[in-house]
């Protein structure tokens, strides 16, 4: 009985909290929903012990997570085959979403290097994304360089920016590091927004050219899809291989215990710098791809929310897992597109989702906290 009372009083509490903002009608609805939920949960608790057991056992199976270690090459080939045939199977709209998913996959993979492998929380990753995008945009529109010519430059500049951010970040512990990266992200956005002569300010840069391959434009959706697919594949392979090497192991060691890592001969300063440079490098690639696809960029695409979104993808998939990062990107790009009607609530859902994941399943879907040998 007291469970129900407790549940109802909690429902009442929240309804009262929301009253000043929502007005009576909405609050009644909310109260009704919460009360019914409370009553249902209490009933389950009282009568549903066998039900609970069943639920728990299901949970245990899910907890084991996805471990296709033995079948990895097979799954990889099958996936690649499917992805290669993709444009033949779907329409333009889905292809467009797929390209966007690809770009975000690269971002998530890159951020995963910093946050997942090395444990360096970066809340300003969108800044590197922006530098890559604006790098290509400026080189193309102002200096006339083509996509493939600008790309190496973009990548180098972005990685250098990563090193610059690394300098203050190297000596700071967890929370402070996060705030500095956030500050960096904001400073970059402010500069992009206000340095009108160089970046066009809030109006951004227009007229960016797409990549050309052997004289033909790759702007067409299905062609651009293959460009993106190629980029994602390269990113995934390179990052996975670095992960399963001495470098990757050093990063994970730093994440697990920095003092222990340095006592085992790993130069934490050098490898953290490495993580920043390597992690930001891929954001540069994603940025250039983004600019080349949209043909127009503005500072609005590179806000703090963007950084949080990319971070959410990494968390959702499981910190440290490359496959998880791609899955996270897939979910967080596809879901809003698929559920267009509730587009308005997507940020609300993201906020709620982050809290729930942290409380109930911090290891994400694939649970990627294993290192590699």
């Amino acid at each position: 009985m007291s469970d129900v009372v407790r549940g109802l009083s909690i429902a009442l509490w929240f309804s009262l909290l929301f009253l000043p903002f929502s007005g009576f009608r909405n609050v009644f609805i909310l109260f009704a929903v919460l009360s019914s939920y409370a009553v249902i949960i209490s009933s389950i608790k009282r009568y549903g012990n066998p039900l609970k057991e069943k639920f728990q056992s299901v949970r245990r199976v899910v907890d084991i997570g996805v471990r296709p270690v033995r079948f990895k090459p097979l799954i990889f080939c099958a996936t690649m085959l499917l992805l290669l045939c993709f444009p033949l199977l779907v329409g333009d709209y889905i292809l467009d979403v797929a390209i966007l998913t690809g770009i975000y996959s690269i971002l998530a993979l890159g951020l995963n290097v910093m946050v997942g492998f090395t444990g360096l929380l970066n809340l300003g990753y969108a800044a590197f994304y922006a530098i890559g995008a604006y790098g290509y945009a400026l080189l193309n529109v102002k200096a006339g360089f083509g996509f493939w010519q600008s790309l190496p430059c973009c990548l180098v500049i972005t990685a250098a920016a990563g090193c610059i951010l690394a300098v203050p970040a190297l000596r700071l512990k967890g929370d402070y590091l996060a705030i500095v990266t956030l500050g960096f992200g904001e400073i970059v956005r402010l500069v992009l927004n206000n340095w009108d002569s160089l970046t066009g300010g809030p109006n951004g840069i227009t007229g960016i050219a797409p990549p050309y391959l052997l004289g033909t434009s790759m702007a067409a959706l299905n062609r651009y899809y293959y460009v993106t697919l190629g980029a994602v594949t390269v990113t995934y392979i390179v990052i996975s291989r670095i992960r399963m090497s001495r470098i990757g192991r050093a990063w994970v060691a730093i994440r697990e215990d920095e003092i222990g890592a340095s006592s085992m001969g790993i130069s934490t300063i050098w490898y953290k710098l490495y993580a920043f440079a390597f992690g930001s490098f891929w954001a540069g690639l994603a940025g250039a791809l983004f600019a080349a696809k949209m043909r127009f960029i503005s500072p609005e695409s590179f806000t703090f929310m963007e950084s949080v979104l990319i971070l959410s993808m990494v968390i959702l998939g499981g910190l440290g897992s490359s496959e998880g990062a791609i899955l996270g990107a897939l979910i967080l790009v596809m879901l809003p597109e698929v559920l267009r009607e509730i587009q308005l609530y997507r940020m609300l859902a993201l906020g709620t989702g982050l809290i729930l994941i942290m409380i109930f399943r911090p290891q994400g879907f694939i649970g990627g906290l294993r290192s590699g040998t």
């Binding site: 903002f21 967890g174 929370d175 996060a178 400073i187 906020g351 989702g353």
Partner: protein
Amino acid sequence: MFFQQFINGLTVGGVYALIALGYTMVYGILELINFAHGEIYMLGAYLGIIFLGLFTATGLTSSSLPLLLLCSILLSILVCSAYGYSIEKIAYRPLRNAPRLSPLISAIGMSIFLQNYVMLTQGATDKVFPHLFGSHGFDLLGARITYQQAFLIILSFLMMVSLQLFVMRTRMGKAMRAVAQDKVMASLLGININSVISLTFIIGSGLAAIAGIMVAMYYGLVNYSIGYIAGIKAFTAAVLGGIGSIPGAMFGGIFLGFVESMGAGYISSEYKDAYAFLVLIVVLLIKPAGIFGRSTEEKV
């Protein structure tokens, strides 16, 4: 000119200080950056407007306006404190023993939730605070100080002094300091940790609510996104003064207010927001422990 910027800086600085206090107290106790704290400030601003609107809509005359204002402020503080208490219980308490990354991300999630919740229920356009004080003021040392500015400056100082007295002189304040220093020991001495933590959030939220209403009064406009920027700046102020130190947060807030005013007045007002970030990065580079903080070596 200089003194004018000084007064402007003091006004804004008081606001930052009040918000910074919430950050520093929570960090001192939980070692958590309460990302959602900036949103409490935003909620306070909105609630002030909402309650004032409710009261004036009942058709009371303008002579009881100060009373209505006071009631709005008190109600706003009450509701914000309730929010602060709830946020701690929902998003942070379950993660008390989790690795540090988890509550931080949960805090970010809560911040996003609150921002969007207000945007959805109150609309994305600015909300207006009725013009109460008028532009009357007085002149001092070549600067024009409006009565509103004077009121805000006095109010923030009053709050800061009250907090300092509370923390230093009362039993509960002592309990808060004890919990901040050593949670385990404090609980062994019979202090209820959860109550102290909840109280910390309640007080911090109340101060943030006051700051929110002050800003609503001062600028006349509020928007669901003001929490984010003000939150970052206030956090910078807290770090500048030494995170975990209450006098530090007060000093940091006012100092940041100055830096911003001076920067906006003498250098460029476009990059106004950037000054805070630059200060933050400089502080973290040179002395992360802040001005009043102590840098301690970790024992291995």
